[in-house]
Symmetry: C2
Subunit: 186 residues, 2 copies
DNA sequence: CTCATGTGAGACACTGATGTCTCACTGCGA
DNA sequence: TCGCAGTGAGACATCAGTGTCTCACATGAG
């Protein structure tokens, strides 16, 4: 019998394939009844908020693993650049599982999640600011722009993989390379 | 009394603000009754398809203005680069009005629109391929990747403007500069 | 064996949206 | 002035999804 985590995992996969999936659809994909679905999660919103929380947990974990604050304090260009690369590649991996959370309206409209998103964006901005200081990232771009560009490229990669224009295994390097160096020759 | 074009324009603005807007909501925003709304468009889908068609019309117009095929045949690096810049800036402008069409499920699921999208993407790819040949765009990136990256940056700019992280008037240059040169120093 | 717990099936009420239809009104042209 | 085309208001049937509830059933622990 699928436990709560199994349900969350299956729901995640289902919602990635079809972000508008109904509770009935998700329950069917999980292999349980609607009744049991509602025994796990009071409402569809509760389910989505929990999945949103999960994705933020992952983001936070990535920032922790990178040691954002320490790196920023240190200010070493080489290590900053390396950390940025590792972080972006991790995001690409994660977007595979959590991608739908990037665009789901219910999740984006949730005040608590939005607040926490802001906190994490702030942490990330610390790294970006340090990288700008250290000459790793361009200083002529707004601090907050970097996060948006990264997000946009994740969306692009997701779509490109879905359509079949690029291979999944190439997504990370394409995103990283395009993000840092652009698509024009130099 | 709003004519059909007024209705389309108002619907476009409404759907950009709230992509899930109902026919009733759109009608109210336009300032007409639901009945009149349905006299103009048989169904919500019909309305969305027409808006999708409009956005593809605009895209096609941009490609025409750029003179894609002639430029590609010519192969002059300077003019190719210039055309790419003009095109991307035009896309940023257009995404202001047509942005919602980039992500709306009803529009994306329409077979006729998808087919036409493919045709236009093919035309654009001609320009990209020529630019790669001429050494303007990187040859180590897949041909189809360029379109996706551009799309992703449009999404990013839209969101960044919405949140207030960047000014609308800066969006064009930020997208263009990040697209071509990336966000890292060189 | 017995019982408690968890489950599936399905009925139910409710909501919000869609699309159709009627009817009365208004404004404009003939 | 008459008549007509277009409109708004609103009723109506329909549909899909949500969330609640009941009841029968299975399974595993004691």
């Amino acid at each position: 019998m699928p436990n709560r985590d199994d349900v969350l995992g299956a729901a995640q996969r289902m919602l990635n394939a079809d972000p508008a999936a109904s509770m009935a659809g998700i329950a069917e994909a999980v292999g349980i009844s609607r009744a049991t679905m509602h025994r796990h999660f009071d409402s569809r919103e509760a389910l989505l908020v929990e999945l949103g929380t999960r994705s933020l947990d992952r983001w936070e974990q990535r920032l922790d693993e990178a040691g954002v604050e320490a790196l920023a304090a240190e200010g070493d260009p080489v290590r900053l650049r390396e950390a940025l690369e590792v972080l972006v590649l991790a995001y690409v991996d994660d977007s595979d599982a959590f991608g739908f959370a990037l665009t789901d309206h219910v999740i984006l409209a949730n005040a608590a999640l939005e607040e926490r998103t802001q906190v994490l964006a702030d942490r990330e901005a610390v790294l970006v600011a340090a990288a700008q200081e250290a000459g790793v990232l361009r200083r002529d771009l707004p601090l907050r722009w970097f996060g948006h560009v990264t997000y946009g490229l994740l969306v692009a990669a997701r779509e490109a993989v879905r359509i079949g224009d690029i291979a999944r295994r190439d997504a990370g390097q394409l995103v990283l390379s395009s993000l840092l160096a652009g698509v024009a020759t130099r």
